[in-house]
Amino acid sequence: MPAASGSRRRPSARRPPPRYEPAATPRPGLVQAALAVVGVGLGAVTALTITSETGAQFTAAGGVATFVGSLTGMVGTYLAMVMVLLVSRIPFVERVLGHDGLLRWHRWLAPWPISLLVAHAVFITAGYAQAARTGLWHQVGVLLRQYPDVLIATVGLGLMCLAGSISIRAIRRRVRREVWWSVHLVMYLALGLSFAHVLAIGPAFVGHPLTQAVWWLIWMATVGLVLGYRIGLPVVRSMRHRLQVVEVRPEGPGVVSVVCSGQHLEKLAVSGGQFFCWRFLARGMWWHSHPYSLSALPQPPYLRLTVKNSGDHSAAMATLRPGTKIMIEGPYGTFTRHVQQHRRVVLIAAGIGVTALRALLEDLPRGSQPVVILRASRQEDLVLGSEVRALVKHAHGWYHELVGSREEVSINGRTLRRLVPDLDRRDVYICGPEGFVTGVADLVRWLGIPAEAIAEAIHHEAFAL
């Protein structure tokens, strides 16, 4: 193991990039095809439910309510499957939509499957009650007592509502992230509990082998993708690369760089600007994983991440001992050169956002002539500044530091136009805390830059699921 103080290990801007497998290019066409397939499934299950209904059933007592219940159950469960797939970290999807983008879709879609499934329970109960000419509450008892699969599925629905309600923003804010995460995992269980009752007594399924086959197919595909990509792939990657901590190096007040070593890092296929979810197998840290960007491209056998002390976990990073093993998930993120549309770029970062910027800078294609703007409150907060400056010089770009409090120095329209005269012919990459990134992104949009030319990376958001 190398000695602790080797400046020769600091990733140098002057060295040519080492040979390693470049990250796979994102293919939007594949994702569009996948979206179409999801649409086909949705249309098919809806049609299967409708076509399995006969006029006689519909006009019988309770027929309408049972049909509505059948339809809401079908669509609700299908959307729940989609929810699960959205966060399964399927690589070709993540490369295009991004880890954060997928989370946004997941949160946006969330109310629908839960509401549809609750409606399903209500309508089915009402329909059966009308058919049997009993009261609603009596029918609830009948359903729960006489159909064992329904009892299990009802428990599942209750768990789903509980797990769903803890994710409501107002409640999630008050709960520790580890608690929220453990409760949210119960969603998998809730879904699994519902499986049996559908095939056993679902009106669209009984006596309809095609619908049953489609249902099995959807479930098996979802389970396979989750096991393979959400669980399997990260485990295989961690075992293949066997990362461990080599050195923890201070970079500035409250900021440390962690250098790690591993095997086969040339196969890691990372793009500059991407992040991993890191799980350090040390006491007190092993049971949660946090997202941190690489602060330089991998230089096999070494990787580097740079972390700012802003919470329990990041503070504990400074106390990591060499030899600590690491499990990783990733690489994730679309803050890369692959989204670049123009030939030239401007990179803007504040605070610890410089880490992703520094890695991206190293990965930019030739001819980018980057304008780099680093924003910090104090000079000593500008970590990695010397590296960034050297890389900018090497790329024939322009380097600007905006140091001072927010009242003294701010990024506004005048500043931007002065520093970046050809702003409308450059891609804009913005990285830093949430307030900073959204503020600058709004400003850039207001200056007339189209949304496709803007890439944002927000740090310290609750990225990971």
């Binding site: 179409a36 649409g39 086909v40 249309g43 809806t46 076509t51 059933q57």
Partner: protein, 160 residues
């Protein structure tokens, strides 16, 4: 990503119409003259699940009612999804003289209740139509289908 709703919607419409078209092409009406069971063995629903195929027993017996010996056949147990039903039919001459349920087993009490309510209606329909071409009972579609299939097979054996 841009235009993602369009792709999802396009897929949904395709899937929806595809299933509708496939369904319209494959649809077979219940209890019509060209019933798929006419003269054949029971369909797939009879082989899946718990079906109790009963050996058709033809009994010679004294003529009952309208002349000619009465023959009784028990149709196969047909799995109608919520249970299994087998129908025993007695034909004398060319008249269906009696039709009773030989065996009925259901998954749970609600299906049993529905079947009990439907069976007398089905019986009177068969006796007045004198064939298996009857309408299903509202709210007991599956029982009606199973009843009809079992009856049809029994009748085919009697006529053959």
């Amino acid at each position: 990503m841009k235009r993602s709703p369009a792709f999802i919607a396009a897929g949904a419409i395709t899937g929806f119409t595809g299933v509708l078209i496939a369904h319209a092409g494959a649809r077979v009406p219940l209890a019509s003259g060209s019933h798929p069971l006419a003269g054949g063995s029971p369909g797939s629903s009879a082989s899946a699940g718990a079906s109790r195929p009963a050996a058709p027993a033809a009994h010679g017996g004294t003529g009952a009612g309208s002349g000619g010996p009465a023959h009784t056949v028990v149709g196969p147990g047909v799995n109608f999804g919520y249970g299994t039903i087998a129908v025993r039919v007695t034909v004398a001459g060319h008249r269906i003289v009696s039709v009773r349920v030989a065996s009925l087993s259901t998954l749970e009490p609600t299906s049993q209740q529905i079947s009990y309510q439907a069976i007398p209606i089905l019986r009177s329909e068969v006796l007045s139509a004198q064939s298996a071409s009857i309408n299903a009972v509202s709210g007991a579609t599956y029982t009606s289908e199973g009843y009809d299939r079992s009856l049809q097979v029994a009748l085919d054996q009697l006529h053959a």
